[in-house]
């Protein structure tokens, strides 16, 4: 129970890594407010969390919108009064060569993956600073922000942006708030299922497994494990770190 008595906000909590992180935080004792746009998926997540006997709340939110963040702030003030943990997991994945990429699309991906993180920290920092101990922010970036891939200019650029945002914010928010990022390689979850809908699932999993140095294809829990370490007081001397969870891909 590393998070007993702690309060947390998790964006992207309706699916994938964010959902798994919210569940794990609740299991380890935290009270969690999770957000997302899709209320119907939230129902399921909320039921799962309540089954665990934990305290979980949902707030509908578009992470690219300031007014939605202000409503989250209001909700956190009302429900928790302060904040110990913020996990920015909401994000979108796209690919495509630059000639097929519109400027509008580029800006949308940037808004979803970078503006979202900036807004989250900007608006929740005052509440994080009121935490009884040192509060912790974990941003879910990507290995694609560390190394580039062809035909992936929007996503790679945005994820590199969120990594630098993490480092700068680590300096600005110290010493009251720690700010770190995880940089996951591909993990099999809702995101990849969606990206490869209509294709043969076993073949796609095999493709991703074989494309890693260590022939292992993880799932959302592998990323959540790293997020929980960084979010917990076990990492009380860790800030500004970018931690790869990538089966060795980024070391190659």
């Amino acid at each position: 129970m590393r998070f007993k008595g702690k309060t947390a906000v998790v964006t992207g909590g309706t699916s994938g890594i964010g959902k798994e992180t919210a569940v794990r935080l609740v299991k380890e004792g935290a009270e969690v407010l999770f957000t997302g746009r899709d209320e119907s998926r939230a129902e399921q997540a909320l039921q799962d969390l309540e089954k665990l006997g934990g305290r979980a709340y949902f707030q509908q939110q578009d992470v690219t919108k300031t007014e939605d963040w202000l409503r989250v702030v209001e909700q956190v003030e009302k429900t928790f009064g302060r904040l110990d943990v913020l996990v920015n997991s909401a994000g979108v994945f796209t690919y495509g060569a630059i000639e097929d990429t519109t400027y509008e699309e580029f800006k949308n991906v940037w808004r979803s993956n970078v503006d979202s993180v900036l807004l989250g920290m900007k608006h929740l920092l005052p509440l994080l600073e009121q935490a009884s101990g040192v509060a912790s922010v974990v941003n879910v970036s990507s290995l694609s922000g560390v190394m580039g891939h062809p035909d992936c200019v929007c996503y790679c650029t945005s994820k590199a942006g969120s990594l630098m945002l993490t480092r700068v914010m680590a300096l600005e928010a110290a010493p009251k708030v720690r700010v770190n990022a995880v940089a996951p390689g591909p993990v099999w979850n809702e995101l990849l299922e969606r990206a490869h809908a209509g294709q043969n699932k076993e073949e796609m999993q095999e493709y991703y497994r074989e494309s890693q140095p260590m022939k292992f294809l993880g799932d959302s829990s592998d990323v959540a494990n790293g997020i929980l370490y960084l979010a917990s007081d076990a990492a009380r001397y860790v800030t500004g770190t970018i931690f790869r969870i990538d089966a060795g891909r980024g070391a190659d």
């Binding site: 110290a174 140095p213 370490y229 076990a234 001397y237 790869r244 070391a251």
Partner: protein
Amino acid sequence: MANQSRVQDMVAVVTGAATGIGFASSKALLEEGATVLMTDIDESNLNRSYKELSALGSSVSSSFLDVTDENAWQVIMDRVIKDYGRLDILLNNAGVVSHSLLRDQDMDAYQRIVDINVNGVFLGSKSAILTMRANAGDGPPRGSIINMSSIGGKRPLQTLGAYCTSKAAVANLTKALAIECAEKREFIRVNSIHPGNTKTSMTETIYGNDYFEDEANYKSVPLGGHGIPEDVAEAVVYLASDEARMVTGSELTIDGGLSVILAGRN
């Protein structure tokens, strides 16, 4: 956290386990359910530390080991297999430091740093990989090797040139081994930890006993204050455990944010 047993029934060898980070890591692994063989060249501190941990439970043992001695590694690995039948975790933690400008560097001290910090990690990793392979049974070999680098392995630190050189080598050796094992379709994970200012006998040797009493000495650390060996031990447990089954060739930095600032100066 103590009764979560995150490395239950795993067998670990820790080098430089007599004091500091090696001792704290041995303790944390033991508390999380592992069997731990503590090794060091400093026999008197090793004995004292071993006694302290054996009061916590019976699954700890200790042995003299100079990490630069290739034959001694073989003896240690034979003993681990004879006593416990397997090896899951190796923490290559033994390390030494010398304080000097590179242009004034004493060559004996330099050679000692390379022998212990780099060659010791090479020998330990090689012995562990061979042992993990030989005892894998039917499935692919598995295990977690954790190498203690430093923020000095990522950024140059003034008057610690030889040390930084050795720790940068450890960081890259780690990645090379991670890829090598992965490409053999093994699940032997190899990662490095990069501590910043951590209060141990090593840093007290470099900076003097009262260094850590004076906040002014680390006012440039964004989080303020200094680390303690337990901060590093927490990372060791995470990387050793199955929670990190997807983590290999990674660096974990525990420095209060100091390297972010140093990067800015480069």
